[in-house]
Symmetry: C2
């Protein structure tokens, strides 16, 4: 159990218009900090007014990207209550990320306690319009001023919160995705399974290239052969081919998404066969040509479920389901958003109230 001190702000910000939240543009009144010092461990957990961080210019995070993060949400139910979705999964994933990245690991219970404590303080910031939520960003970075490459003796774990609208401003309309065959996101022995900052910096160039080609996101292939599909920008990716549902295995190069895991559980409950075998991109293109590529969708906390309407691989452009949302995609979207926002019963025991 953390002992979390609370210093309330004396200067509350006005709440932004819920119709124009966007993603990651507004921040709440407070933030949570826990310091970590080598030889001492975690200490000085506190919630303080949202304010700038002071960093020495030699702070290791600014040079060697010694940092990682998580992404999760708090949802407003029709009864006006606030709930989280599988926060222990994010806590566990950060634990695994930080083991790989040589960053200090916060125990799962403390992580969840910290998230709950900050969301409780910021309860009024959880928006209530359909599709809106409070995005929660736990992160950690090395703040020791030192220029030799080695692990850091001091770190700060923080949580900030941002009220957000639906991730894609166009709603749950199908997105266009291109298959990246030049740049690589991850390879075996690397950091693909973690939410370390470096994975995202390295991926920007593909995003820029995709936008220039008129595509919203990139689908990554494996780093060794550029043959098997892995994941999309900030989503895991599912393919329904001839009745079977495929998604890339989480074997070190793919982020184990909380939404991915939840979709697999629901799909299996509903009687679908979910294959986590590696799937070559050429098989997907072939299935498309044979009329067997029935649905493609991305899964992630930000977008929940994102139908894919078009997939481009080299010179092949696959149109999926006539650009319409498929049945499985829609059912997953309805079920997951229903559970998350509390409009449907939570049979799976995935939601956690913030009281």
């Amino acid at each position: 159990m953390l002992d979390i001190k609370f210093t309330p702000t004396t200067n509350k910000k006005p709440k932004p218009d819920q119709h124009n939240l966007g993603f990651g543009n507004y921040y709440t009144d407070h933030m949570l900090i826990i310091d970590h010092t080598e030889g001492i461990g975690w200490h000085d957990a506190r919630i303080v007014p949202y304010q700038p961080i002071q960093l020495d210019p030699a702070a290791m995070v600014l040079h060697y990207a010694m940092e990682s993060f998580e992404g999760m949400k708090a949802y407003r139910t029709p009864e006006g209550k606030v709930q989280l979705f599988r926060p222990d999964c994010n806590a566990e994933r950060m634990w695994n990320t930080n083991a790989r990245m040589c960053l200090p690991q916060l125990p799962v219970e403390d992580f969840v306690q910290a998230v709950k404590a900050l969301v409780k303080v910021e309860e009024d910031w959880v928006p209530s319009l359909p599709g809106t939520s409070l995005y929660i960003r736990p992160f950690i970075f090395a703040d020791e001023p030192h220029l030799g490459v080695r692990t850091s003796k001091t770190h700060q774990f923080m949580i900030i919160c941002s009220p957000v609208g639906a991730y894609y401003s166009t709603g749950i309309n199908p997105v266009k995705i291109f298959v990246e065959d030049e740049y690589t996101r991850a390879c075996p022995g690397g950091t693909g399974f973690t939410k370390c900052g470096g994975n995202y910096a390295a991926s920007l160039i593909s995003q820029v290239k995709g936008h220039e080609l008129g595509y919203e996101q990139s689908l990554w292939l494996d780093g060794v052969e550029h043959k098997y599909v892995e994941e999309v920008g900030s989503m895991n990716c599912f393919f329904k081919i001839d009745g079977t549902i495929y998604t890339a295995p989480c074997v070190g190069t793919v982020l184990p998404g909380v939404t991915r895991r939840s979709c697999i559980a629901l799909l299996e409950k509903w009687g679908y066969t979910v294959s986590e075998e590696r799937l070559p991109i050429v098989d997907i293109v072939k299935a498309s040509k044979e009329g067997k590529l029935e649905e493609v969708f991305g899964t992630g906390t930000a977008a929940v479920i994102s139908p894919v309407g078009e997939l481009r691989y080299e010179d092949d452009v696959c149109k999926i389901n006539d650009g319409k949302i498929g049945d499985v995609t829609q059912r997953l979207y309805d079920t997951l958003t229903g559970i998350q926002w509390g409009t449907k019963p939570d049979d799976m025991g995935w939601t956690v109230p913030v009281e």
Copy 2:
């Protein structure tokens, strides 16, 4: 030409003892900053007192590792002058790094001008004891507060300086290196050729593992087959086998070191054959068993030339040259340090005075 404003400190720090500088422990009185804003470009170049940076907790660098850096040195000559070593090479490398990382690119001339301007101001900080120098750390990071993954609209380019001793406290004694066969530093299509922060965060785990095994640094293998040698911790790596000198090609996965490039130029001038073909680790072990592995050394700004006395690959431990420094290693060390510290004539035109 940059217009660099100068605000001198009113509170000069005492200079540290030159005998105990270490690496990256002390920082000089000033730092240089240039802001970059989308739509405006580079602006407000300034030298100001060394001071903490204020960052919004949502600053992109803290989440998505949008950052890169360079490393170079200023050397004190016997005449008491201060000089740089091939600063245009660092400027060019950062230009290439930032193209890959979607960070704004500072023109080579401006980069060199900025380095010279700051070193000129900090001239007194360039130490004079043998092996000591002023380490110069240019770096850039994204400071826009935004949580969506995309390029940043604002960045800060900075330079800080740190007086340093010899990188290895044990001097130019041979180091022990182990071959990393589990973790990966880089793969084709990735960021291996850049000095982005993410490469270094991802490598810490191997450093920790190496230390536990009693080794000072890790030698990385290629990310696809874990077969070919690439580079060491923060050095490029050279192998002299049966008279020929090998070093990994810079084809996207290896940092193109300034020291590496300089060594190749010197070696070729001296009549050696330098091969930049990919070299399998098993060939090195085989050569060692046959008594043909004559010398192994790392090259980098921090250590200049670092002889390797022992190489471990899985269960094979290769002792190199009886743990003594080889002739080529010694000649490169003497020549390069002679040029850098101005004790030998600079036939190659590599040094640049700071006047």
